[in-house]
């Protein structure tokens, strides 16, 4: 059902406007999951300093599926890393909101506090799958919760495993799984703790188009059916079309955003950016 909905939108008119809307001016209807304010990230010092992010402010709505796009070197990965608390920021704040709307400023947390927060409140899906080769699929899925010293909710665990079709793969090690299966295990790992946000970094980059679509379908469903918040970095317009919002970065600045994107509208905007 979901794919059809995408197709509907694909065939519809592009919703983007010629004017670049400012982020601050955008109206937020739902509560936020992550709010990034005036984020600046500078690598290096002196002459060799590179401004990877230059005053980015963006809010990722809870229960939304946002894609971050932009040319290579635009800072999209850096934005994700900073928003996920994997990297430090030079200035600005990153706020993570829990289910009750209470904010935690990640930039004010130490390494250990950030690490502990990542266990249950942030999920990751990587391009390289990044499963631990020594652990079985099941052990990989439960790893973050176990590190947190928590037991997974058995019902939720069963739901996640079944939705991802991993039931008969749980005892396998990653090298016994196909790429698509590995990425599904990674998705399950990201979702099991019901985190406040899942960050996906080029999740289809290492997959063929069919399995890539399966993974994107699943991310879409987790948003639509499970109310999960997903933020995805991608350079693929087709992948971005699965999101319900696309933010575009160039040279470390937020330059555009598309609500209800289609592959064509995204491609179109990207072309314009390149020009």
């Amino acid at each position: 059902m979901l794919p059809e909905a995408y197709e509907d939108r694909d065939s519809g008119p592009t919703t983007g406007t010629a004017a670049l809307p400012s982020v601050g001016g955008m109206q937020t209807i739902v509560r936020p999951a992550v709010a990034v304010t005036d984020l600046t990230k500078v690598y290096g010092t002196g002459d060799t300093a590179v401004r990877a992010l230059d005053g980015v402010s963006v809010t990722f709505a809870a229960g939304g599926f946002t894609a971050i796009m932009g040319p290579s070197g635009s800072g999209k990965s850096t934005l994700m890393h900073c928003a996920a608390g994997l990297d430090t920021v030079t200035s600005g704040t990153v706020q993570l909101f829990d289910g009750r709307g209470e904010a935690t400023d990640l930039t004010g947390l130490g390494d250990t506090a950030l690490t502990k927060l990542r266990r249950t409140r942030i999920g990751f899906v990587f391009q390289q799958f990044n499963l631990l080769p020594t652990l079985t699929a099941a052990q990989n899925i439960t790893l973050p919760l176990e590190l947190a010293g928590a037991r997974p909710d058995p019902e939720w665990y069963a739901t996640v495993v079944d939705v991802l079709g991993l039931r008969d793969r749980l005892g396998h090690r990653p090298n016994q799984l196909s790429g698509g299966q590995q990425q599904r295990v990674a998705c399950a790992r990201a979702l099991l703790a019901r985190p406040d946000v899942v960050f996906a970094d080029e999740p289809t980059g290492n997959l063929d188009s069919k399995t890539g679509q399966e993974v994107l379908d699943f991310l879409r469903r987790s948003v639509a059916e499970l109310g999960q918040t997903v933020v995805m970095v991608t350079h693929d317009p087709t992948a971005a079309a699965y999101a319900d919002r696309v933010v575009l970065l160039a040279d470390g600045r937020l330059v555009d955003e598309i609500a209800r994107p289609t592959a064509d509208s995204v491609l179109d905007r990207l072309k314009r950016l390149g020009a």
């Binding site: 994997l86 390494d111 249950t120 631990l132 080769p133 020594t134 590190l147 090298n175």
Partner: protein, 837 residues
């Protein structure tokens, strides 16, 4: 290709550092030993050039001393400028307390001082003794006894009578260590003869007249002296003296070289492992080289060249380290073991340098061969593929490995059993050790098959304590069994040997202690003063009589010994006085009955069953019937070849003098009171040496603990190399797992937990090595003890405290080895590490 290799070497230098250190330590040990031996030899040559200075011809006594008349005959020969007789014998010097000055429980010496000053092996400060009442003393003894020229010293003749002498000068032996540690009294030869009963000279030294050839002079001296005397030129004599003295150092260096070989074997494992891991990590690079046209031979050659360069560098640094180690050995030998090796500036000849460089290259290349062969199998296509993160070994290869391992272990076990059951204890020990080495090789071959499971088993309690991070650590330690096996093999070798030494030494200690306390429940063993060549003063029977009269003692036992020939071979037999035998002293009978001991019968040690023995004493042969076998070791007199009855010993010709008098304190008498009493009894008998069993057993403890420490120290190098191996494997694994660690950090492993996983992984490897090593030592230690010391029926003891210590040491040291790799892993930025391919 060579340029590519060298460029690669420069880039990977840090990763090869541990390999280089393993080579440096292994080579350093061997080179150090060789340098030490050469230096000690040079030192001895210098020393003896002095002892025999000005000597052109030396006449050395053969079996018996040279008759006094020989000297007169030599002096009369043409071409002799001067000739002197040298005489040295044991002579006890009394200290201010009236007790003999001893070194290792032995009396000091007297040397003759008369004759040509140019031929003396010492310098005299003051003047030489002119009459019977004068003497010289070596300056070291004078120093610690606070004696100066003009003081009176007292010496004891062999009967125990005191002789006061006036000190007229001091003896200075310079760097010569011949008498190092002993008191040396300088007296005229005639006076020494009167005091010790020695007649004749040990050596006659000759100075040639100007223009006389020493070789020719030696030829004319030979007919003038007693048959059997050894005549040589001064140069020959000096060389021979130096060689004799060096033999101590040589024996020591052979032992050292064995330990050096162990270090090198351990180093081979570390080097092999490093290259195996490096080449596995470099598969892409190698494949790329193959893609652009490198042949298999070139890939192989590149690895061999790389290892040769590392080996050469390591060998060079090893030789340098060897110089330092040689200094350390001097300190060890002289400081700890009192060996008295003369000081000499380090001699660095071409031999240790060549040996060090060759060993470094050969060992490294040898260790790198297998990984190099494996590297040649890299398909060019591998450059384009992703690395398989886990290596699964094929079933066939596992079966082959298992078969080879079983073959080795079975062969080793068969040889060991043959050795253990062999009648000849010495050959048996050799077989047990040889079988042990073969079985250990089998164990090493099998290691990759069992380390995984063993790690998991050892990891169970660790996981229980440390939770999920420990589970990650256990999984990591298990993921590459070959690598873990090679890493822990080094610890297995080092700890296995340590455990073996500890079991053997602890068993010897326990056995000796049993013999002290179990069957000889005495508190004191009094012996006569011992002289050189094992001669020993006897105790007059009055001593035992006075002791019996003291109320502080509940029992006194006398032991007499007699030197005889048993079935033609020289031997010492003994007897315990009839009143004590069966009372204070019970014999530990293996077979037979001690009560059957009487006239015409004998008890012999177990091991060589025979119905009777023939004892020859004073030219008369007596056949004695064997009525039993027992341990015949008696405190203070060592092991005796046979025990007879008191009357039988007297009948064989033993005089009325005791070799050992044992005493047991009466109950309720404090140790200090009994000690005072026995000292009071001994006072009129200056030759009596009172040993308390408590002292003996604490001396024994000290000696055995010292030996265990020494072995542990010598094996320490191997352990250090093994730990570099652990550190190396871990840091290479850290590099390999960069992205994995970053993932773990991303999903919630804290920095401290990541460090923890690596520490746990190291501890697991340390414990696995220790467990296997200790298990091996606990099997082979008792086998070696039972075979080598069969004659004394040893009690096998497992020194649990030492083993627990070894285990803790292995765990702790591995933990230490993991500190740097762990820090490196934890400090990596997650984002950067995630990008790592």
């Amino acid at each position: 290709m060579i340029r590519t290799t060298l460029a690669g070497l420069r880039t990977h230098l840090r990763r090869l550092l541990a390999t280089a250190i393993a080579v440096v330590l292994g080579v350093g040990f061997v080179a150090g030993t060789l340098i030490f031996t050469a230096t000690a030899r040079a030192g001895f040559f210098d020393t003896f050039a002095r002892t025999a200075k000005n000597v052109d011809v030396s006449v050395l006594a053969g079996g018996q001393r040279l008759p006094l008349a020989d000297l007169d005959r030599v002096r009369a020969l043409a071409g002799v400028a001067a000739a002197d007789g040298r005489l040295a014998d044991s002579l006890a010097l009394l200290d201010r307390e009236g007790k003999p000055v001893t070194n290792f429980s032995r009396a000091g010496y007297a040397v003759s001082t008369d004759g040509d000053p140019l031929l003396r092996p010492f310098d005299v400060v003051g003047r030489v003794p002119a009459g019977d009442g004068e003497a010289l003393l070596d300056k070291e003894t004078a120093g610690h006894q606070h004696l100066v020229v003009g003081d009176t010293i007292t010496v004891l003749d062999r009967a125990g009578a005191r002789h006061p002498l006036t000190l007229v000068g001091l003896l200075d032996f310079g760097v010569s260590k011949t008498y190092s540690g002993w008191s040396v009294v300088g007296l005229p030869a005639a006076r020494i003869a009167a005091l010790t009963g020695a007649t004749g000279y040990d050596e006659i030294v000759v100075r040639a007249a100007a223009g006389t050839d020493p070789g020719k002079l030696a030829g004319s001296v030979r007919p003038a002296v007693a048959k059997g005397a050894k005549v040589s030129t001064g140069d020959k004599r000096r060389e021979q003296l130096a060689n004799d003295a060096t033999s101590v150092a040589t024996q020591f260096s052979i032992i050292l070289l064995v330990f050096g070989a162990v270090s090198l074997v351990v180093a081979v494992f570390v080097i092999y492992n490093t290259f195996a891991i490096l080449l596995a990590q470099r598969v892409r690079e190698t494949a790329l080289l193959r893609c652009v046209g490198a042949t298999r031979g070139q890939v192989f050659g590149a690895t061999v060249l790389e290892s040769a360069v590392v080996g050469l560098g390591g060998g060079f640094l090893g030789v340098l380290a060897g110089v330092g180690i040689a200094y350390g050995l001097f300190a060890l030998l002289n400081g700890v073991l009192n060996a008295g090796v003369p000081a000499h500036s380090i001699v660095l000849g071409p031999a240790p340098v060549l040996a060090g460089l060759t060993l470094g290259v050969v060992v490294t290349v040898l260790a790198a061969l297998l990984p190099a062969v494996r590297a040649t199998r890299t398909a060019p296509l591998a450059a384009l593929r992703d690395l398989a993160p886990l290596t699964e070994t094929g079933r066939v290869r596992r079966i082959v490995r298992l078969a080879v391992a079983v073959l080795f272990v079975a062969a080793g076990a068969a040889v060991t059993v043959a050795g253990h059951d062999s009648a000849d204890s010495q050959a048996g020990t050799f077989l047990v050790v040889a079988g042990g080495i073969v079985a250990f090789l089998g164990l090493l071959v099998a290691a990759p098959l069992f380390v995984g499971r063993l790690t998991a088993a050892v990891g169970v309690p660790v996981r229980w304590i440390a939770g999920t991070p420990a589970r990650v650590a256990v999984a990591n330690a298990r993921r590459n069994p070959g690598r873990t096996a090679a890493t822990t093999a080094t610890l297995m070798i080092a700890i296995g040997l340590m455990c073996l030494c500890a079991v053997v030494l602890a068993s010897i200690k326990a056995t000796a202690r049993d013999q002290l306390s179990g069957h000889y429940p005495v508190d004191y063993a009094v012996t006569g003063l011992s002289y050189e060549d094992g001669k020993r003063a006897d105790l007059p029977p009055e001593f035992a009589r006075s002791l019996r009269a003291r109320p502080e003692f509940a029992g006194v036992a006398e032991v007499r010994v007699l030197d005889v020939r048993i079935d033609g071979r020289p031997a010492r037999i003994g007897a315990v006085d009839a009143a004590a035998l069966g009372g204070l002293i019970t014999l530990d009978m293996t077979t037979g009955d001690a009560g059957a001991l009487g006239t015409g019968t004998v008890i012999i040690p177990p091991g060589t069953p025979q119905p009777s023995i023939t004892v020859t004493a004073g030219g008369r042969a007596t056949s004695l019937r064997v009525v039993g076998t027992a341990k015949t070791t008696i405190p203070g007199s060592g092991q005796l070849a046979a025990l007879v009855s008191w009357d039988q010993l007297t009948a064989l010709g033993a005089g009325p003098a005791d070799a050992v008098v044992m005493a047991k304190a009466a109950s309720g008498v404090a140790p200090t009171a009994s000690r005072d009493a026995i000292d009071a009894v001994a006072r009129p008998f200056p030759l009596a040496q009172v040993n308390s069993v408590a002292d003996l057993s604490s001396d024994l403890d000290k000696a055995v603990n010292g030996l265990i420490g020494l072995f542990a120290g010598l094996l320490g190098t191997a352990v250090v190399i093994a730990l570099f191996g652990v550190a190396n494997t871990l840091s290479l694994s850290v590099v390999e797992r960069t992205r994995e660690s970053a993932t773990l950090r991303a999903v919630g492993l804290t920095r401290a937990q990541l460090r923890g996983t690596l520490l746990v992984e190291a501890v697991l490897m340390g414990l696995v090595g220790a467990v296997v090593g200790i298990a091996y030592g606990m099997i082979y230690g008792p086998l070696v003890v039972a075979t080598a010391f069969r004659a004394i029926d040893p009690r096998v003891v497992v020194p649990w405290a030492w083993l627990a210590g070894l285990m803790a040491l292995a765990a702790l040291a591995s933990c230490l080895a993991a500190v740097l790799p762990a820090r490196k892993a934890a400090s990596a930025s997650i984002v950067a590490a995630l990008a790592d391919v």
